[in-house]
């Protein structure tokens, strides 16, 4: 089977973010909160179009990486800005930078 030609493939982008809160959260809790708010605001089709996924989350630094594509960067930023609580604790997500590769986002 032939792979997709490059012109048909999505151009992935990785959004580095940090969680501000009094409490420290686990990766599963953060993804659950992001998925819930995304489903509320852009729906399942929006999530599929944005190719949304939580790639990585550092639980000690409370920093993580969201994957999306070039067309949906600002939609995803809007979605994450609407998040007001995680696990019933007041919290918010601040997006730090957008990169084209995972390697770059980790500063390697």
């Amino acid at each position: 089977m032939k792979p997709y030609p490059p012109t048909l493939m999505d151009n992935d982008r990785y959004i580095q973010f940090t969680v501000h809160s009094d409490k420290k959260f686990k990766q599963a809790d953060v993804w659950k909160a992001i998925y819930k708010i995304a489903k509320e605001n852009i729906g399942l089709k929006g999530i599929a179009d944005a190719n949304l996924a939580l790639i990585d989350f550092n639980e000690t630094e409370q920093k993580g990486l969201i994957r999306t594509n070039t067309k949906s960067i600002y939609i995803v930023k809007g979605v994450t800005s609407m998040l007001a609580e995680i696990e019933s604790t007041p919290a918010f997500i601040q997006t730090l930078r957008v990169t084209g590769t995972i390697k770059k986002s980790r500063g390697v």
């Binding site: 501000h20 809160s21 509320e40 605001n41 600002y74 939609i75 995803v76 930023k77 809007g78 979605v79 994450t80 800005s81 609407m82 007001a84 007041p90 919290a91 918010f92 997500i93 601040q94 997006t95």
Partner: protein, 179 residues
């Protein structure tokens, strides 16, 4: 590097940590009027009037020394006509959108709020009004970073550049001209 400003940030120190430039909070006069008669702007201050009612909106854009009409539409009230937009343009009143209304609104209310804001943005784009995006939150955790506020613009029909302009150049021009 672009300077970003949040006119209604509850915690200035935290706002600076998030990436906003420092502003003089004492110059800002925020009024939440119950009727048109309550709109009493102060001289030499940046007067921000919270709208959300037809009479308040019309009175705010007519009154002298009003600089920002915040939230002219909300989830209940969605009428923002070209007459109000034209008057706002004539009197140099910027139209404000607060991020807190999105967070405070429930799921069903948010749908109506987005629809009303999208319609309002269509009118403001036609008349070419200035738009300001502010956080206007009650606490520290209601605040958002500058480029996250830009993301809100994507939901209501603003382009990326328009949204960036709404948190950088428009508040800057309000500070420079009015004070």
């Amino acid at each position: 590097m672009t300077d970003y400003y949040d006119l209604l940030a509850p915690d200035q120190e935290f706002a600076e940590k998030l990436g906003f430039s420092k502003i003089d909070v004492s110059k800002i006069n925020y009024i939440e009027p119950r009727s048109g008669n309550d709109i009493k702007p102060q001289k030499n201050k940046i007067n921000i009037i919270r709208g959300g009612d037809e009479k308040i909106n019309q009175e705010a854009v007519r009154t002298r020394n009003v600089h920002v009409l915040l939230d002219p539409v909300n989830w209940e009230f969605g009428k923002f006509d070209t007459a109000t937009a034209n008057m706002a343009k004539k009197n140099n009143v910027a139209i404000g959108i607060s991020h807190a209304t999105f967070i405070e609104a429930k799921e069903s209310q948010r749908v109506k709020l987005m629809l009303n804001l999208q319609r309002m943005v269509k009118v403001t784009n036609k008349i070419k009004n200035s738009i300001v995006i502010v956080s206007n939150s009650k606490g520290k955790y209601g605040m958002r970073a500058p480029l996250d506020l830009v993301g809100i613009g994507a939901f209501i029909g603003l382009t990326e550049n328009q949204a960036k302009w709404a948190i950088s150049e428009v508040p800057k021009s309000i500070f420079e001209v009015k004070t």
